[in-house]
Amino acid sequence: MATQQAKVARVAVTEAAAALMRSLYEANGPLMFHQSGGCCDGSSPMCYLAGEFRTGASDVLLERLEVEGVAEPVSFWMGAEQFERWRHTHLTVDVVPGRGSGFSLEAPEGVRFLIRSRLLTDAEEEVLERRTLS
């Protein structure tokens, strides 16, 4: 894992995804993610320039991802209503070969970010539910 090993977190990043974020960062600057719902290219994380996608009262910041080689943390956001349905799961940002989609930055590279999920353990949930990110 490119991110912290011991710290409990909602979102993690695979090595492959971290490498892609590094190269996108070098080409574009600071990054952010927003998890999309809905059809077609939905149910997948969208990667944008930090600040490109406006977040507000209807969104939840799940994590500020510390990625080696990326100076600024990469914020990972999700719609608040959607988060209610996700909060019991842990998310790992991965990468697969693909066509890309929406306006996500990696599309022209022939790869696509993807979320792999697992259930949070009781211990993890306890820590995370007490934590608030602003």
Partner: protein, 507 residues
């Protein structure tokens, strides 16, 4: 059983070009940036052509062409515009099989579906809007003896349209037909997953349209879609796709205060009341097909009935029959006319589905059938195929709440009518729903209680023109497939006319 020859084979009905440039001003236009991207077919995973990688500069050129063409097209009499749309429909009908082959190869869907649904619906859509625009009237109101308000429908001018990959030709037509009928010129950006079947369509109908009325710019969303959505030179943006992108498009459009219509998907509940199983008759058989509709188009439909809610009384028996019906699904080569379920549209779509099969099981849902990727062997080994899958679980699980966009249905029980409605509405989305019952009152009340724009009642996956289609809640804004859509592509001009010669007395 017939096997259609793949595009480009000696005996094939059509062939794709090796390379596609943009279509601007009635001719091909090479991308200003000089870049191209490869386009694979999901059937085998192999590249079959390359496509222009559009950028803001190409979008500008397309807008130039659209703005040049829009005034004359907007002034063209509705009857003449209707004639063009009808000729387009006729031309498509003459080449129905070729269009179906083109779409099937690019998207991976079975040609059986493209022949029976996609292309016939697209043809009819042009005919519907040809009729609708001729029958449209403005209005007038007599305000007082001396004052009359005249209301005219006027085209918006130039509109931008960004379409998805799940029904490449049909989605293009759902957008183009009303926009053109209403007198607008269009810049269309096809999905990068399915960039060329619309070019094949264009090659068949280009002579019927004035140059610049329809322009096609290909490319990636961030490079070509963003400049289009954020352009001050479009009077409106229409988008079908997912929620985050829809939100971003609204955001871009807001920079220029432009109207937006969006169709953003759903998690449609398919509700089977006990009385469905009162008899083993045609209707029972139809209800089983209704259940199996989750597999239509490989589940890559915004209205996929991906939640099946089965009432407790008939749960065991109906589900057993539904599983048996699902087992009869024929998955295979998309160009075989027996094939019902083909390939998912891309590798990343396949991976996403597999990740949901994963989390579904992790959350404790039970796989009743399917659950795995499938290798169909031979030339299809590199293609993107997954087994039709039935999960059993509860509505709070992520597989019940999120669009998996694959041939996957999640089944849950309900007790009472009120339970069914509560569970059906416990979703971020509200695009489609299905209600199956022999009781008219239940059918009506359920349909009115479900918070979805389209409630199929004793049917599913019908998309006739003249039936309004669109979402509640997180599923989007606006309605398609109905003459009300002309309103989305027009504005109202009020001529407020005074026939009095006298001053009012203010100044």
């Amino acid at each position: 059983m017939t096997r259609f020859a793949a595009p480009g084979q000696p005996d094939a009905l059509m062939a794709y070009q090796a390379r596609y440039d943009h279509w601007i001003g009635g001719e091909y236009a090479a991308p200003v940036g000089g870049g191209y991207f490869e386009n694979p077919t999901p059937v085998t995973g192999q590249t079959f052509c390359e496509v222009a990688r559009g950028t803001a500069a190409d979008v500008e050129r397309a807008l130039d062409a659209a703005h040049a063409a829009a005034p004359a097209w907007g002034r063209t009499a509705p009857a003449q515009r209707a004639e063009v749309l009808n000729k387009i429909a006729d031309r498509m009908e003459q080449h129905l099989s070729e269009l179906a082959l083109a779409e099937s190869w690019e998207n991976g869907k079975p040609i059986r579906e493209a022949l029976a649904a996609d292309i016939p619906l697209a043809i009819d859509h042009f005919r519907y809007f040809a009729g609708a625009i001729r029958a449209q009237e403005g209005s007038l109101s007599e305000i007082d003896e001396d004052t009359v308000a005249y209301h005219f429908h006027e085209p918006l001018g130039v509109v931008g349209q960004i379409i998805p990959w799940n029904f490449p030709i049909l989605m293009a037509v759902w957008k183009l037909a009303p926009a053109l009928a209403a007198g607008n010129a269009v810049v269309l950006k096809p999905a990068e997953q399915t960039p060329v079947s619309v070019h094949y369509l264009m090659s068949l109908i280009a002579d019927l349209l004035p140059p610049g009325v329809v322009n096609i710019v290909n490319g990636f969303g961030v490079e070509a879609g963003k400049p289009l959505a954020s352009s001050a030179r479009v009077a409106k943006i229409a988008f079908t796709g997912e929620t985050t992108t829809g939100r971003l498009i609204m955001q871009y459009a807001s920079e220029n205060i432009k109207p937006v219509t969006l169709e953003l998907g759903g998690k449609s509940p398919n509700i089977f009341f006990d009385d469905v199983s009162n008899l083993r008759d045609d209707f029972y058989d139809k209800a089983l097909e209704g259940f199996t509709m989750f597999a239509l188009n490989q589940g890559e439909v915004c209205t996929c009935p991906s939640r099946a809610l089965i009432q407790r009384g008939h749960y065991e028996d109906f589900l057993a029959d539904a599983i048996a019906r699902t087992e009869r699904i024929v998955q295979g080569h998309p160009l075989d006319t027996d094939t019902m379920v083909g390939a998912q549209a891309s590798n990343d779509q396949l991976e996403k589905i597999l990740s949901y099969l994963d989390i579904g099981q992790a959350e404790g849902a039970k796989v009743l059938i399917g659950g795995e990727r499938v290798d169909l062997g031979g030339e299809l080994t590199g293609g993107y195929y997954v087994q039709p899958t039935i999960f059993q679980g509860s509505n709070s699980m992520r597989i019940f709440q999120e669009e998996i966009f694959g041939p996957v249905v999640s089944v849950a029980q309900f007790d009472t009518y009120d339970d069914a409605i509560r569970i059906a509405n416990d979703s971020l989305y509200g695009l489609g729903a299905g209600v199956w019952t022999r009781d008219a009152r239940t059918a009506y009340r359920a349909g009115r209680a479900i918070q979805a724009g389209r409630v199929w009642t004793n049917c599913y996956h019908l998309y006739p023109a003249h039936a309004a289609f669109g979402g509640y809640k997180g599923s989007g804004i606006g309605r398609e497939n109905h003459k009300m859509m002309l309103d989305h592509y027009q504005q109202t001009k009020n001529l407020l006319v005074s026939y009095s010669p006298k001053a009012m007395g203010f100044f």
